[in-house]
């Protein structure tokens, strides 16, 4: 693996993730009124999974760059020495000048490490700050805590700490959870409010929201450069908050539901006093979010109908869409720039329509073939043997004397012939991958090495594509 591959991997997974994020945002907007928030969180989980696990390898092929042939018809194969398949073939890496991919990799890595340290350090300092607080030993509050623990079903020991430096109740710590209350909660807020607060925070614990936060943090470390992902994460957190509200509400009686909304406002009122110069954007954002949350609280009805089936279907669809795009992922690793998505075989550019008459009939048909990809394994280096892989999709109307023939010329000197291979085809439609051993040779330094690839089908030249490939000069002196 080199930097180019890594960079492409990151970019590719980030792009797919962005697309997925947009899909989820759109789906979420449609679903939110009909479905419990926790199902939307399931959708977000799919996104996180996709962002963190970018490559589902078909096999460890990547490390060895052994070509993978997709052989639908298994026609006769162009002979490749058997040993060549097993030996990893790598072009010699040029020394000296860093490629643009090297630079991008360094930038990405620095950003990722910075984010990681930033989060770890902040977290560490925050935890230390909690030591400034006073443990809450008020029997009354502890009683409420125990009641709530029983209701939600949490058995872990939870300590309550009163902290002067926070403005909102919070919960902290995956293994030894700590419930943080702003100073003065017992005196300034009523029993009902305290109960709602504790229920809300305990729900976060129950849903493992803190663990999820670490996973989100890791994701942001990897995808720190992608604003779409940042926005998606923000939406994700707000959806999780709503799922938390929902869960608490499911444990409250009807008349207590409105008072839950009031608890939130009471906490805001007492503790979250305005800053001297509030950031205007943040104000608008948070007010919107609060409105949404309050509306959702009021609209909540016990036993809301939730079309589980529909959402599960969506989850499966999204998971499938993101998980198994092996072809696309492989493309990300190709070192030569040529890459075309497979198009339908009947691309008019590469079709040959014919008609002729035999003794009694007019015979018409269309042969089509298209080179869908040309690539090399590893960098091409002068004098180093490697493979060129050409993928061809074809569709033949006439099976009379059907052959696929591929020919390579060095197009800077078109007489220099490199390789020709012919395969008989036995079916009308198919895909074949040619794997051709090749030793590129540069005669003069700086001469580009071009490959001209001609596809003959049934004796007609259907498609000729010229491809200029970069060949690295040898690192050792020429003999």
């Amino acid at each position: 693996m080199n930097t180019e591959h890594l960079v492409k991997l990151v970019i590719h997974s980030s792009l797919t993730g962005s697309l997925l994020a947009v899909l989820i945002l759109v789906a979420g907007r449609y679903l939110k009124s009909r479905v419990k928030a926790r199902w939307i969180c399931l959708l977000w989980f799919v996104l996180l999974f996709r962002l963190l696990i970018p490559y589902i390898p078909n096999s460890p092929l990547l490390l060895y760059k052994v070509p993978e042939t997709i052989n639908i018809n298994s026609p006769e194969v162009i002979e490749v020495p058997q040993t060549a398949w097993l030996n990893p073939v790598r072009g010699a890496l040029p020394e000296g000048k860093p490629t643009p991919y090297d630079i991008m990799f360094v930038i990405w890595l620095s950003g990722a490490l910075l984010m990681l340290f930033y989060m770890l350090i902040l977290n560490f300092i925050f935890i230390r700050r909690t030591k400034r607080g006073h443990p809450v030993t008020d029997a009354h509050i502890l009683e409420i805590l125990n009641e709530c623990k029983r209701e939600i079903g949490i058995k872990k020991d939870i300590h309550i700490v009163s902290l002067g430096t926070i403005k909102t109740p919070a919960v902290l710590g995956v293994f030894k959870p700590l419930l943080l209350l702003p100073e003065g909660v017992p005196s300034k807020l009523g029993d009902n409010d305290i109960r709602n607060i504790i229920l809300h925070e305990l729900t976060h614990l129950k849903h493992n929201d803190l663990l999820a936060d670490w996973i989100i943090g890791l994701t942001l470390t990897l995808h720190w450069f992608n604003p779409v992902i940042w926005h998606a994460i923000k939406m994700m957190r707000s959806d999780r908050e709503m799922a938390c509200d929902e869960y608490v509400l499911s444990h409250l009686k009807d008349e207590e539901i409105k008072r839950y909304g009031q608890t939130i406002l009471n906490v805001l009122d007492i503790y979250a006093r305005p800053k001297a110069v509030p950031g205007l954007v943040a104000m608008v954002e948070s007010k919107k979010e609060f409105k949404r949350r309050l509306e959702r609280i009021i609209v909540y009805r016990k036993g809301t109908r939730c079309p589980k089936f529909f959402v599960m279907l969506l989850v499966i669809f999204l998971a499938g869409f993101t998980g198994v795009n092996a072809y696309e992922i492989q493309s990300a690793f190709r070192s030569s720039p040529a890459h075309c998505m497979p198009k339908s075989c009947c691309d008019p550019r590469a079709t040959f329509a014919y008609s002729y008459t035999d003794a009694t009939n007019v015979i018409e048909g269309t042969d089509a073939a298209m080179i869908t990809d040309i690539r090399s394994y590893g960098k091409l280096t002068d004098g180093v043997e490697t493979f060129i892989v050409v993928e061809v999709e074809y569709s033949l109307a006439s099976m009379e004397d059907a052959r696929l023939c591929i020919m390579f010329n060095n197009s800077s000197d078109s007489s220099e012939f490199i390789h020709e291979g012919t395969i008989p085809v036995s079916e009308g439609i198919g895909k074949y991958v040619f794997t051709i051993p090749l030793t590129p040779v540069i005669h003069e330094e700086g001469t580009p090495f071009s490959l001209q690839c001609c596809l003959h089908v049934n004796n007609r030249t259907l498609y000729a594509q010229e491809k200029e490939l970069k060949v690295q000069p040898r690192s050792q002196p020429y003999p």
Partner: protein, 129 residues
């Protein structure tokens, strides 16, 4: 005009002892802190002198012993701390690792009133249905 100061974690532990017993002998502070932190007397004395330099603590001499007393209340310290730039930074970014009841705290009093009215309105609307 509020004093601007920043107190480190270690200094905070010392302050906590002082806030609990407003007039303290150095030896008392050392004794208390040894229980919880195990710091040596020299460490505690260094911290005390740093706090005195920051003017958060003053002292008087009484029969050959120094008595220390804090000049700011705990509440004031907490307040200053929560307004500090660092704290705002933490609260904003620690969002990721700490789950909270409410995330934003930049709403004005009017905003909160507006939200209360919204809550009542929504509730009223619901009741009618």
């Amino acid at each position: 005009m509020r004093k601007v100061f920043s107190i480190t974690e270690a200094e905070w532990q010392v302050m906590k002892v002082l806030w609990k017993n407003s007039y303290c002998h150095a030896s008392k502070v050392i004794e208390e802190l040894e229980k919880t932190t195990g710091w040596k007397p020299t460490t505690v004395k260094t911290l005390l002198s740093r706090l005195v330099k920051k003017k958060v603590v003053t002292f008087r001499k009484e029969n050959n012993a120094y008595i220390y007393t804090p000049t700011v209340s705990e509440e004031e310290c907490q307040e200053a701390e929560s307004e500090s730039f660092l704290n705002r930074l933490f609260n904003g970014s620690c969002n990721l690792m700490v789950s909270r009841l409410i995330h934003a705290n930049k709403l004005t009093g009017e905003d909160i009133q507006e939200l209360r009215l919204l809550l009542d309105k929504l509730d009223g609307r619901e009741k009618k249905e």
